[in-house]
Amino acid sequence: MSKGLPETRTDAAMSELVPEPRPKPAVPMKPVSINANLLGYIGIDTIIEQMRKKTMKTGFDFNIMVVGQSGLGKSTLVNTLFKSQVSRKSSSWNREEKIPKTVEIKAVGHVIEEGGVKMKLTVIDTPGFGDQINNENCWEPIEKYINEQYEKFLKEEVNIARKKRIPDTRVHCCLYFISPTGHSLRPLDLEFMKHLSKVVNIIPVIAKADTMTLEEKSEFKQRVRKELEVHGIEFYPQKEFDEDLEDKTENDKIRQESMPFAVVGSDKEYQVNGKRVLGRKTPWGIIEVENLHHCEFALLRDFVIRTHLQDLKEVTHNIHYETYRAKRLNDNGGLPPGEGLLGSVLPPVPATPCPTAE
């Protein structure tokens, strides 16, 4: 998949890979089945185990951004997702913070471990989004931050002496919190998603969903989905990036039925039927966060962490990052950033051909 790369390079690469056409044999070959019974056990399947061992040793990083008006339970949800106190609020001393006048970007990193696998999780919070009287362009600082991370990665990539493992600070996933009004999306929601769905993976989430009854929830979700479709907003998992039929059917089901997930978050435990569960206790009942009859938190968690975590990272790297990179290279006349007239202040580096240049 080459998007926007110069023509010559593609052709050159292609010619290396396609072998000379062989003369047709007189007798057609027996078709080789994929699951052919091998004469003995080779051990190719151990590659999975080898990869797993490597991943466990190196660990991996995941950067998740949360965006939404203050008070929609963003920090609580992230804590509930990763079952630890990973949000910005938990790290800072000051719990009673004032709404900032402009949107700030605050990133907090934690290393969490499960089953021998280490994950460096970074939660990026955006306090001040949508809280002012005039919220024009309040998504701009967020867009700028995301692009800055791509820029950082790009700079590392074009270095002559590259690091073995480039630290990945790019935003892999952006959870956008929709207020549960029960009516429809707010104009600000539309504007934000329109601008940012092309730059980052957006997963819309209906926050504090315990205010809606089942009928209200399904009506609201239908309306939100329709509005997003009408405006051409592609949220993750994007239709155009489904690789095969299997992905497509699975993702279609999620896109058309479950999303946006209506969630409830909590970091307190209560006793229900002899078990301790995470929930919210009200005079009229206890809302269990992980009970699928109550809310869709479990679906969101499985989606983001258990099934699509790697895919989120891949789409970020292969698609969003590549789009950014191509745009940057095109702007710079096909040269990597830092070179040429549009690049840095210094004169262009002579002679030594950079591996990624033509």
């Binding site: 203050s70 008070g71 009287i133 009516h183 429809s184 104009p187 539309l190 509005e227 005079p283 009229w284």
Partner: protein, 432 residues
């Protein structure tokens, strides 16, 4: 206010004017007749008795020879105003999606919003704030109430909400203008009172207290209308969270110096139950409400109005679940009349004073004590409607009213002197 404990004085030939012994309470206003109605709504039983007594005493010769019988006056006024009917204008304001319409329907048990069409987000991108008025006549127990609801769709919806409260402020002032014009006009028999008597402001339960938009709106309207802050969709909150949010809002209101509607203190002679209820009610401001027009079945299979969730049923009329009952009691059952009075005596008079202050005329210095504005602001405030009458006539009207006021004040002082003299020997004159 006019309970048993108040000292009453015989009023020589000025019917309808009540002069309580502590003259600090006196306020001369055009609708002084309305005052006794508070007694009517709160203590109907007591008045019934009084009425009965006066009827018996007048026909059979009073058992108590000093009993004149004008204590029945409130009853007569009560009957007259029942015939006339009440009107009340209620405004609801707040972001969309906070349960305003549902709450109004629950409060008045009507479906005022049946034909409403909710616009989509794309339509709201360019929507500006509009003011909508809906009227409904409710009758209960022989008393007719003409209720007007003022809605503010589009408030707080757009991306840029700067100055989105200005149309609301303008609307409220227009109603005052209209009333001022009618009051100064020639035909005063049928003045339609379209002034906004109360504004229910809905605060989001999802935020952490008042948002900047809330503060800006409340600041713009708090001197012009009675504000009752309400937390909508309160079933989103656990009890602890509700208390914390209420406290935060109260602190913020104090910090920003926003004057919400203050419930009058109940009289010292009210019974303990009432006092306790009253104190409870005051403690629970802002009211955390849940609205519903659907009847569902709760755990014991009783039909209740509420919302049915998978984890339980919220009952709208259960005081442990939300403050709906408190709000209804306060708004409809006990303080409806007081809201109208405060609107008239305090807010309208303030507007009127500011308005008339802006007229450049002799004798304006007298009014300076009544108005807070300085004379410098004369040029800034455009005079809205008085240009309709020729200036000289208006001047005359004002001077006449001034004279009236001065005469009344003199009479007052004479009264006061008399009362003090009669009280000097140490005995207190009793009303009845």
């Amino acid at each position: 206010m006019m309970g048993k404990g108040t000292q009453m004085v015989r009023t020589p030939g000025v019917p309808g004017l009540h002069f309580p012994a502590s003259l600090g309470q006196l306020s001369i206003s055009a609708s002084y007749i309305a005052r006794p109605l508070i007694c009517c709504t709160q203590l109907p039983a007591q008045l019934e008795e009084v009425g009965r007594d006066s009827r018996y005493s007048s026909s059979y010769g009073a058992m108590d020879k000093e009993y004149v019988g004008f204590a029945a006056l409130p009853n007569q006024l009560h009957r007259k105003s029942i015939k006339k009917g009440f009107d009340f204008t209620l405004m609801v304001a707040g972001e969309s999606g906070l349960g305003k319409s549902t709450l109004i329907n629950s409060l008045f048990l009507t479906n005022l919003y049946e034909d409403r069409q909710l616009p989509e987000a794309s339509a709201r991108l360019t929507q500006t704030l509009t003011i909508e008025r809906r009227g409904v006549e409710i009758e209960e127990g022989g008393i007719k109430v003409k209720l007007t609801l003022v809605d503010t769709p589009g408030f707080g919806d757009s991306v840029d909400c700067s100055d989105c409260w200005l149309p609301v402020v303008r609307f409220i002032e227009e109603q005052f203008e209209q009333y001022l014009r009618d009051e100064s006009g020639l035909n005063r028999k049928n003045i339609q009172d379209s002034r906004v008597h109360c504004c229910l402001y809905f605060i989001s339960p999802f935020g952490r207290g008042l948002r900047p938009l809330d503060v800006a709106f409340l600041r713009a309207v708090h001197e012009k209308v009675n504000i009752i802050p309400v937390i909508g969709k309160a079933d989103a909150l656990m009890p602890r969270e509700t208390q914390a949010l209420k406290q935060k809002i109260r602190d913020q209101l104090k910090e920003e110096e926003i004057n919400i509607y203050q419930f009058p203190d109940c009289d010292s002679d009210e019974d303990e139950d009432f006092k306790r209820q009253d104190a409870e009610m005051k403690e629970s401001i802002p009211f955390a409400v849940v609205g519903s027009c659907e009847v569902v079945r709760d755990i014991d299979s009783r039909p209740v109005r509420g919302r049915c969730y998978s984890w339980g049923t919220v009952e709208v009329e259960n005081p442990h679940h939300c403050d709906f009952l408190n709000l209804r009691r306060m708004l409809v059952q006990t303080h409806l009349q007081d809201l109208k009075e405060v609107t008239h005596d305090l807010l309208y008079e303030g507007y009127r004073a500011r308005c008339l202050q802006s007229l450049a005329r002799p004798g304006a210095r007298d009014r300076a004590s009544r108005s807070k504005l300085s004379r410098r602001s004369t040029t800034e405030i455009p005079l809205p409607m008085l240009p309709m009458l020729p200036l000289a006539e208006t001047e005359k009207l004002i001077r006449e009213k001034d004279e009236e006021l001065r005469r009344m004040q003199e009479m007052l002082e004479k009264m006061q002197a008399q009362v003090q003299q009669s009280q000097a020997p140490g005995e207190q004159s009793d009303a009845l």
